[in-house]
């Protein structure tokens, strides 16, 4: 069946990304304009805009299944792409789409449900001989049960949300005293984030690498993997930087883990794009963590080294087309690194930094790809995800990719909000990162500060502050003084200064 028009049930950079692949396939896109960001890029790029700015309901439209189905039917779309986050891994939404004869661009509701529920996923993995950390057999019902299970598997343990994902609803307990509280925190967070307070317990693998495999399967049952992504640079389980391939994998280990990932996917008759996440310890042992049944934020690094457009494949597969690729067709070429540009203040422990983008400039270099949902004038609202853009850089090998990344970062300029860019500048020069031998504990254990600080640049900033002080004092006493030496002043700066008096 052919897709002529599709609804994107998402916003931000991923909506822009989906529009790009849909356009290339000659498919019309429908997006939803919300009152939170009526002039967002994705709204402008789409063919058809559903105006939802009058919506006053409590929950965002991207989480409202009934509304989304109504919108899809109203605009007579053939398919719905959920993107990532929001309803991307909601089996009920996928089922609702199918019930209304809308193609859901993603796996079957059954696969989403089974893999989305971590306790069921663990059982499937166990049956298919997928290596796993020891853990509880099912959901933990009480503190007493938690303590018994933790005693059996040994501390430290990790409490995880059964319906979890995206690094939320996870807490580590190092001993019995901590366990009740961590259990409560994980349950609270799970209830809020996933509407399901169920948690389970697993042996905590301290300081592993986070390695994940990209999977593609079609509706005929063919499944291949597109190599791994290294996602160990994370803070509080939130990924900040991803690369492909990983310097930790030999070709043999890659083949072995890839086969395991494909086996798991086949066990649930998986189709569409998916990601099998593993932890890899320092002995080269790997443990299945979870499978994400959606396109990932970090999919571009895989696209850059394999040359496969993953969104295009998702759409074609949903339309019933065969994969058109065999495992042997997948060759990994070069190296790619993705830096997540988040509206966060790295000098204040990555605290959210919402605000208005005053200036924004990305470099125009042939090794740079930018997936962005923002532009100058965009407002970064605190109720949406803090990730605003992705800087994806490639090179022939890892060293070249890092060198290129440094060059690119020097030419990314953002004003108005604080971002994670100073963190990446630090990272690109850090010997542990450059050496490639880092684990998920790197940021919390090895970094004393999260931004690149140069005494010289502080002196430059000090000069600027002093200059402002002098100009203000002079301007105060004599209004006719031309305190910007005849130059036009940054209107924003001027405005900000005026407001301060």
């Amino acid at each position: 069946m052919k897709i002529k028009r599709l609804l994107i049930a998402n916003r931000g950079e991923i909506a822009v990304r989906i529009i790009k692949s849909a356009k290339a396939l000659g498919i019309e896109t429908v997006v939803i304009k919300t009152s939170a960001e009526p002039s967002a890029i994705y709204v402008r790029e789409a063919d058809i805009v559903h105006d939802d700015t009058d919506d006053v309901s409590e929950i965002p439209v991207f989480l409202d299944i009934e509304r989304l189905i109504e919108i899809a039917l109203e605009h007579e779309v053939d398919a719905v792409h959920p993107g990532y986050g929001f309803l991307a891994e909601n089996a009920y939404f996928a089922q609702k789409c199918m019930d209304n004869r809308l193609m859901f661009i993603g796996p079957s509701p059954d696969a989403i449900y089974k893999l989305g529920n971590k306790t069921i996923a663990r059982q499937i993995a166990l049956r298919n001989k997928v290596p796993m950390a020891t853990g509880s057999r099912g959901t933990i019902r009480s503190t007493d049960e938690a303590i018994k299970v933790a005693e059996r598997i040994g501390y430290p343990v990790i409490v995880k949300a059964a319906s979890g994902g995206g690094g939320r609803g996870m807490r580590i307990a190092w001993n019995e005293e901590e366990l009740p509280q961590m259990l409560r925190l994980a349950q609270n967070e799970a209830e809020k984030a996933f509407n399901d307070p169920n948690v389970f317990i697993e042996k905590y693998i301290a300081n592993p690498k986070h390695i994940e495999f990209q999977i593609l399967g079609d509706t005929k049952g063919d499944v291949i993997h597109l190599g791994e992504r290294e996602c160990s640079i994370q803070r509080k389980h939130q990924k900040l930087l991803e690369e492909a391939p990983s310097s930790a994998l030999s070709p043999e280990l890659r083949e072995e883990m890839g086969e395991v990932a494909v086996r798991l996917a086949k066990a649930v008759r998986y189709h569409s794009a998916g990601t099998v996440e593993f932890l890899l310890d320092s002995n080269g042992e790997y443990y299945f963590m979870e499978m994400n049944t959606r396109i990932q934020v970090e999919h571009p690094v895989t696209e850059l080294i394999t040359g496969v457009d993953l969104i295009e494949k998702q759409i074609r597969i949903a339309a019933g087309e065969p994969l058109g690729l065999t495992q042997d067709d997948i060759k990994l070429n070069g190296w790619a690194i993705e830096c997540r540009i988040n509206a966060e203040d790295v000098q204040a422990g990555f605290a959210p930094s919402p605000g208005m983008i005053e200036k924004l400039s990305f470099p125009d270099m042939d090794f740079v790809r930018v997936d962005s949902g923002i532009e100058e004038g965009s407002a970064i609202a605190s109720n949406f995800d803090s990730m605003i853009a992705k800087l994806i850089v490639s090179g022939e090998n890892r060293d070249e990719a890092i060198a290129n990344c440094r060059k690119a970062l020097d030419k990314v300029w953002v004003k108005g909000i604080k971002t994670t860019i100073p963190f990446f500048k630090l990272l690109m020069k850090h010997p542990v990162f450059v050496g490639g031998d880092f684990t998920t504990g790197f940021i919390e254990n090895d970094l004393e500060q999260y931004h690149e600080a140069k005494a010289e640049e502080e002196q430059v900033a000090a000069w600027f502050a002093t200059k402002l002080f002098v100009e203000e004092k002079t301007a105060d006493s004599d209004a006719t003084v031309d305190f910007e030496q005849g130059k036009k002043m940054d209107p924003w700066l001027l405005n900000k200064r005026l407001n301060q008096f």
Binding site: R168, Q181, L185, N188, E189, K192, A193, K236, Q238, D345, Q347, A348, G349, A351, P352, P354, E358, K359, S361, S382, D385, S386, W413, V414, K415, G416, K418, T419, I421, P422, H451, E452, E456, E457, E458, Q459, V460, A461, A462, W463, F464, A465, T466, K467, L468, F469, V470, K473, T474, D476, S477, D478, K487, M489, D490, W492, L493, K496, R497, Q500
Partner: protein
């Protein structure tokens, strides 16, 4: 305000002092040159459409903006990195040194919100004894629940927030009398 001008006319130096009390001194009138390791370099404040206001320093462009200003305190964002200074005159500098010598340690600890967010749960009450590291409340920001812990051991003297309150960064949450 005429005083300010006379003040600047009389003095020949200003200091930019950072949070760690490191000071950078600048001669007045302020020149478009600064000295690094005994070498002088030109520094220019410029402006274009792409970057807005920026500083040209050693042939590199540094977008610059003021994030915050109050009296003589400035937070500058230079190329995405934040720097905070107070600008001091030679006289105020002396006074600052005097105050910092006199300032004893206070027995009151104030726990502030490390980031803007929503209070999910307050785990302590007024008059409660608390250990260092003990969780006092849960703050949700960007969909993550963060446990705020006590930085000291002592007794809770005031609780300024309750569940479901929204708080700003640096808003005072709890006050503790140190043991």
């Amino acid at each position: 305000m005429a005083m300010a001008k006379t003040l600047l006319q009389k003095i020949n130096k200003l200091y930019a002092v950072n949070a760690k009390k490191k000071k950078y001194s600048f001669s007045l009138p302020l020149e478009d040159r600064i000295k690094v390791d005994k070498k002088e370099f030109d520094i220019k404040l410029k402006e274009d459409d792409k970057l807005g206001t920026y500083i040209l320093w050693k042939n590199r462009k540094y977008p610059v903006e003021v994030v915050f200003k109050r009296q003589n305190k400035y937070e500058i964002l230079l190329n995405g990195v934040s720097y905070t200074f107070t600008i001091e005159t030679p006289t105020s500098m002396k006074r600052l040194r005097f105050i910092s010598r006199k300032k004893g340690s206070s027995d009151k600890e104030v726990i502030k919100a490390p980031m803007p967010g929503k209070i999910i749960d307050v785990l302590v009450q007024e008059d409660a004894e608390i250990r260092k590291g003990e969780p006092i409340l849960i703050l949700e920001a960007m969909k993550m629940q963060n446990e705020i812990q006590s930085t000291v051991a002592g007794k809770i003297t005031a609780v300024h927030v309750k569940a479901n309150d929204s708080v700003m960064k640096d808003e005072i949450l709890i006050e503790i009398k140190k043991k």
